[in-house]
Amino acid sequence: MSDNKEVILSVRGITRDYVTPGGLFGKPETVHALKGIDFDLFRGETLALVGESGCGKSTLARILTLIDAQTSGELLIRGNPVNIAKKKVSAELRRRIQIVFQNPYGSLNPRQKVGAVLEEPLKINNPEMSSEERRQKAMDMLLKVGLKKEHFGRYPHMFSGGQRQRIAIGRALMLNPRMLVLDEPVSALDLSIQAQILNLLKDLQEEFNLSYLFISHDLSVVKYFADRVMVMYFGEIVESGTRDEIFSNPRHEYTRTLLAATPKTSIESIRERVLAGKATA
């Protein structure tokens, strides 16, 4: 990554502890979900965050999207320190960072029409905007994420998983954010739909110069999609580097385990397996 790139978000030594109350006789226990995370996110890049469930990926996502406060450490957004536990954050800043969740079935309100889903962020953040303009903006976004005009008045249950994920992406983009946190956006989708959503994300990134923090445990998707990769293990970043560095020369044991566990679809590896099977049979 070149040095002249604009840093839009920096994380310095962020930790997050969760304290579980011990009850009547037990001692309270502290879980160290994040143990000092450092990284920078540049303008227009895709940074992938890889790790198994329970390693703290989503905790980090919650801190970056200003949903949860860090226990210690510094979160800098365009150079300004932010800590939601200490000081209220401006609506302007919150607008800059949006999130897309993994499960498109759970993240849309079933009683809200798609148009209303897309209009809601504007209603809250721009109350003075005329309803006509709001409608127009929502309609434009609907078309941008690859849906049709007639979908505007429909309810989420009338859509497939891939279409719902398009709606969720559209909603996240309504306020012109600089950065999207994508929390496993394609892991609930079929292979062919996954390809469509990844293409859409690439197009939108180019058009709006967005930065993505792409959380995933699927290394084949990461290899295709990311510019840089961070590998997280038990609340720590154990390895980070450009995509090519990580995939061609993994240094940490856990990264190697991950790479070894990823299914191989090359003809050679299938042939090897089939021949080995015949030999033992």
């Binding site: 198994e52 292979l191 062919s192 990823t262």
Partner: protein, 284 residues
Amino acid sequence: MSLLEIRNLTVEFDTAMGPFRALKGVDYTVEKGEVLAIVGESGSGKSVAMLATMGLLPKTATVNADVMTFDGRDLKILSSRERRKVIGKDISMIFQEPIASLNPCFTVGFQIGEVLKTHLGLTGKAVRQRTIELLQAVGIPMPEKRLTSFPHQMSGGQCQRVMIAMAIACQPKLLIADEPTTALDVTIQKQILDLLMRIQAERQMGLIMITHDMGVVAETADRVVVQYNGEQMEEAGVLELFEAPKHPYTRALLSALPERAEGDRLPTVSDFASAYSKEDGAAL
């Protein structure tokens, strides 16, 4: 004779909008000791086909087939009482959501024991002994202690291991695995697939692997059936399929694999849809 043979299977559901055809004449055969993968996206009818085979579809479904035999028995004329003796014993199934398919109110020891009591008539100490052996076979550490655990006290991967233990409790001849690793992490997926393949090879079971993940197919299958929209697109050996896919849909699926991506964009199935209608003169 094949272990499982199904010819021209159709399934129709009665809906308020009239009958809906979920399967439009598909064929499957599985030999002893063979791994058949059924690949397709959601709505392609891959799970419906297996539920129809096991007779687990609701009453609104009409199942028709020219041939439907398992281990020499005609599944079409089996009474439901006889069918229940076969299912869960000679054919067993594991499902996608391991945590949801176990009963949260009972310990895993009880749930595995129930299978042994029902199908094998084991009692008392024999049940406990066999349950421990099964948990050991699927790689759960300290099985004696785990007998009294509830599903919520175990991780997703461990619950899937318990499901596998239940499925192999009666030494089935055919195991149907419906997306067994979709809800799991890659490292756990690898462990579960390795476990399934080891058990399959040891016991020379027939195994049907239902999946939408071409990676899982590449790592496990001997033969592959590709399904789309209730129709069979292609059937081939796994190497043949990956090396020279014949049907445009299979080609589209393979080229949508991120690790095979060439250039900046992934081809999608809508690209395939236009190619399909051109080549076969049929609309999707």
